[in-house]
Symmetry: C2
Subunit: 347 residues, 2 copies
């Protein structure tokens, strides 16, 4: 087991912010970026929070993420807009697009933003929480580099394109945030290290056999779409929609670059406060969740959760106790907290 | 093996229409209804075409489907509208709502229709083909009666809520039409009859064990969500969205009635001809499909298909050769071709 240390949200955010400043990412947008990475970690999504921060900095150093760039309006058509992310910070571009979809929804009932030429949004669920907490229904998705085979195929030409759906619930939200692969590469790696098989089939080995062996899947780079042919189809359509609505690159174009940048995303918001039945919507959602909670669990000790419910628990725990971070990850991050000039001159 | 006969599309449609007329379903709306049931059969989706027609007539006889009723606008807010389906014919209500979403998209770029209090739309893909063939991106979904357990639950409180995504492609369309359960009850029944196990886990037996035995799943009424916990989450969110956007019933309310009527649906269309990059969109889709087709198949003899590709093949075959129908299904249908008065007086 790897050693973990506890870092408070405040410590984490100020560390991230200092590192961003050292990489010429300044002002309010750097603040927002540091906040999103921290919030994702507070919410327990470490793979797209603290654990991913070093890779984000490497992307800045490579020039794949151009932190000075803000998104630019390309095309406007009523409630639908296309924006060019100009390879700016993916978290900021996605949050801007979420806010823009919300504005369009406030004007038109529904709003849709296609964002081309952007970077990894890290955890899509963040934008779902953001919109739903402000009273909007939200649906958004992203394409990725190819990492899943089409159904019946050997090579991985589909992205595991994450889909987010969110709706206000009580004072919080129900937020679904799911990639189209059955297991994330983070989970595969964790199981590889612990030597455990996956609980379900998670992909193919190099001979095309379905397997629960995480190592074989990492080697073949052929993870399993959720629901086999169904998730493969859904991933394809999410990709086509993202490329068409944004005018940006599809999975096959990102895959050709061999690096995970310059992707396309879609953000749809609906302003439920404009509905004539607005005052009853809170109860509609509460009643559905109550019915879900009333499910009879297979094991008596279990509880049935709605998507996002355990995020709230984890957020509370991590706020109280600090965010658990693998010691060597935090060490790596602290080493980034120097200027590039310092680093290049070997200081 | 059950005996099949071949029925031409024209024969089938005129038979359906005559039966609808005998059930006081008249005029253009009856014509449309007969057309949709026939087209679904031509396209090879027999479970939601010819095989389901007798059940549709039973629903009319019971009064669950009220064929005189047309949908009524309840709430209008820019590009978003809510309609009351008034328990009318589900196929007609869904087609009207698809057209209305397309009209709203023509005016606003994107359009969203929530349809409450409607009936089974049969095959959701029909509406995807309709919108995409007219040049729109389409996304729609429906809720159903409870037939899948939440993840970790014993009882089935989730619907297998089908989702449709469609986009124009060449002179045709790419159309994904998928329920949130790994296998339809139609497939389970077919495997039960043939005595074959399912190729993948398809649900739970009555003790809560995952199983490939179709009979055990039919008995437990606990089919497996695609991607296990992921499909369960997606089904829940599609249901909440449908109930909130339409103001209609959620799965738990339909389930209480113990019959599959009065459901909620969502129809979203985007008018891609309004985009400034419209002329390049055709090539975006073609390039993605070309890349998919270039996948290396696991078995050399196999071909990789996009969603909807095999529908086109089957449509062509069935137009040329006639639609294969199980003899006893067609017999049952022919028996419906009498007036209710005739039937009630024992003629």
């Amino acid at each position: 087991m790897r050693e973990k240390i506890l870092v408070t949200g405040e410590q984490m955010k100020s560390t991230f912010l200092s590192i961003l400043h050292h990489h010429n990412f300044q002002g309010e947008r750097a603040e927002t970026c540091a906040h999103i990475f921290t919030q994702n970690s507070l919410d327990g999504v470490y793979t797209h929070g603290v654990n991913r921060f070093p890779r984000f900095i490497r992307q800045i150093r490579k020039g794949n993420v151009q932190t000075d760039n803000e998104p630019e309006l390309v095309d406007s058509s009523g409630a639908t807009e296309r924006w060019n992310g100009r390879l700016g910070s993916g978290t900021n571009n996605a949050l801007d697009s979420t806010h823009r979809a919300m504005e369009l929804a406030s004007s038109h009932g529904i709003g849709c933003v296609g964002l081309a030429n952007t970077n990894h949004w890290m955890r899509g669920g963040y934008y779902g929480w953001e919109a739903a907490k402000s009273g909007f229904i939200f649906m958004g998705w992203a394409n990725t580099i190819g990492n899943m085979p089409a159904w019946g195929a050997k090579n991985s030409r589909l992205g595991n394109n994450p889909l987010v759906m969110a709706v206000p619930y009580d004072s919080e939200a129900v937020v679904l945030d799911m990639a189209m692969s059955q297991f994330s590469y983070g989970t595969l790696e964790a199981n590889q290290i612990s030597g455990e098989k996956l609980p379900m089939i998670g992909g193919f080995d190099e001979d095309g056999n379905m397997t629960k062996d995480p190592e074989a899947i990492i080697k073949s780079e052929r993870s399993m779409p959720i629901g086999y042919w169904k998730g493969a189809g859904l991933a394809l359509l999410l990709d086509i929609f993202a490329a068409v609505i944004s005018g940006g690159d599809a999975v096959f174009q990102i895959t050709k670059r061999k690096e995970d940048y310059g992707m396309s995303q879609v953000f749809i918001a609906i302003d439920i406060s404009r509905f004539s039945h607005f005052t009853s919507i809170g109860n509609i959602v509460k009643d559905v969740i109550k019915d879900l909670h009333d499910s009879i669990p297979i094991s008596e000790a279990d509880k049935i959760f709605y998507p996002g419910e355990r995020v709230l628990q984890r957020r509370k725990e991590n706020r109280e106790n600090g965010i658990p971070v693998e010691g060597k990850v935090w060490e790596e991050i602290l080493k980034l907290n120097i200027t590039r000039q310092d680093e290049e001159s070997g200081v």
